[in-house]
Symmetry: C2
DNA sequence: ACGTGTGAATTTCTTCACAGCC
DNA sequence: GGCTGTGAAGAAATTCACACGT
């Protein structure tokens, strides 16, 4: 196995790593090893696809035997940099923002919402879960103080673009947005969309 | 323009249609026409890509002028079958389910949550938004009665697979799931994932 | 025998580049 | 001049198929 240059690995392969991780963690409950055929079946990929994907990062398997599940999990966590914790700021504390704050599932995977921000004076100061909602005006200092790189946007669509620009100006490097609008940001900023409307419209083509 | 056979259109093209729709609806506010260069810039695609995508469905533009925005919106809505309303059942009324029920954004796009279901007796009967939570045992009849094809799953991950199988057995054709687990279902069932953990893990590779 | 890792072949997706029309 | 629609070219992703290690 040689040194890996990230720039060389296609994003489409990277995008499958979290899926592999997910099923590997399930498999871990019941077995020690797996193979490309089994993994492929669980994810809807061909076995060749699985092997090719893995080969981008090294030689993880043994001929005749397959892959050690714990070892794979470890490798993929390292590759994805999720073998550490990440701090996150959440912008927008409406219905959705509240649900996100109350959802305890992020922490199990190492993602911690360190601060929640809104611009509505009625909401600022409110305590949700174990967090007090802060004034959006303070988010820049907060990001600097805790060296935060990831933001989640749960504002109305109309505010998402300006909020995103403000966050980028304050050194945020990656954004997960729930707002139903497409963000225009510098290409070095990673943006992921979690937009149910887009998903439903995609689905409905096939109905 | 000839008859379009859906099977021939690559899913990757279909998956971009909702994005085009989104920016077209924004553009509609301020102008009548647009062109492939402008659309590409707004979405991060090349202008050739935009034109090739559109050409899969017909000839929508005029040389020298570009595309009429309203006309495009109309065409794409028809193609995606979102020029009608769709009824949806929601399974799982925890924090996330509540947020979804309170979110008024689906209806504007023609998606209506007709029924919300849970298996917790403490939650069944509760009124959220303008809906009463129903017993999951009744979902089969409900789906039949209202001829529902789309379900949203907002249960804990541990229950998602069995809930999904039950829904499919009751004739659901498409699922949007928020649960952090990969569903194994017959290939003719469309599944879309809205999984923030997967998105965050993908993002974190690049940080 | 089993199942990986990988060049080669194939298929799919994107971009090029330009004829043709407004 | 501006911009579409599209064959042809090019790039990227996937699958094939098999040598090789266990």
């Amino acid at each position: 196995m040689t040194t890996v240059n990230k720039a060389e690995i296609p994003d489409i392969v990277v995008s499958r790593l979290p899926r592999y991780l997910r099923v590997l963690k399930n498999l871990r409950e019941t077995k020690k090893t797996t193979n490309s055929t089994e993994l492929g079946k669980l994810l809807g990929y061909s076995s060749a696809q699985v092997r090719k994907d893995f080969s981008q990062f090294g030689e993880f398997g043994k001929q005749g035997t397959g892959y050690n599940i714990d070892y794979l999990i470890n490798q993929f966590q390292q590759i994805l940099q999720v073998n550490q914790t990440w701090d996150i700021v959440l912008i927008g504390v409406g219905n959705l923002g509240r649900a996100i704050l109350n959802y305890r599932g992020f922490e199990k995977h190492g993602f911690f919402i360190r601060g929640a921000f809104d611009d509505d004076p009625h909401i600022i100061g409110e305590k949700i879960g174990n967090k007090v909602v802060r004034d959006i005006a303070e988010v820049g200092d907060f990001i600097k103080e805790f060296d935060i790189k990831i933001a989640m946007i749960a504002t109305p669509a109309s505010e998402a673009q300006s909020v995103a620009e403000m966050l980028v100006a304050n050194n945020i490097k990656a954004i997960l947005t729930y707002a139903s609008t497409i963000l225009n940001l510098p290409p070095e900023i990673r943006v992921e969309y979690s937009d149910p409307i887009i998903s439903l419209q995609h689905i409905s083509y096939y109905l």
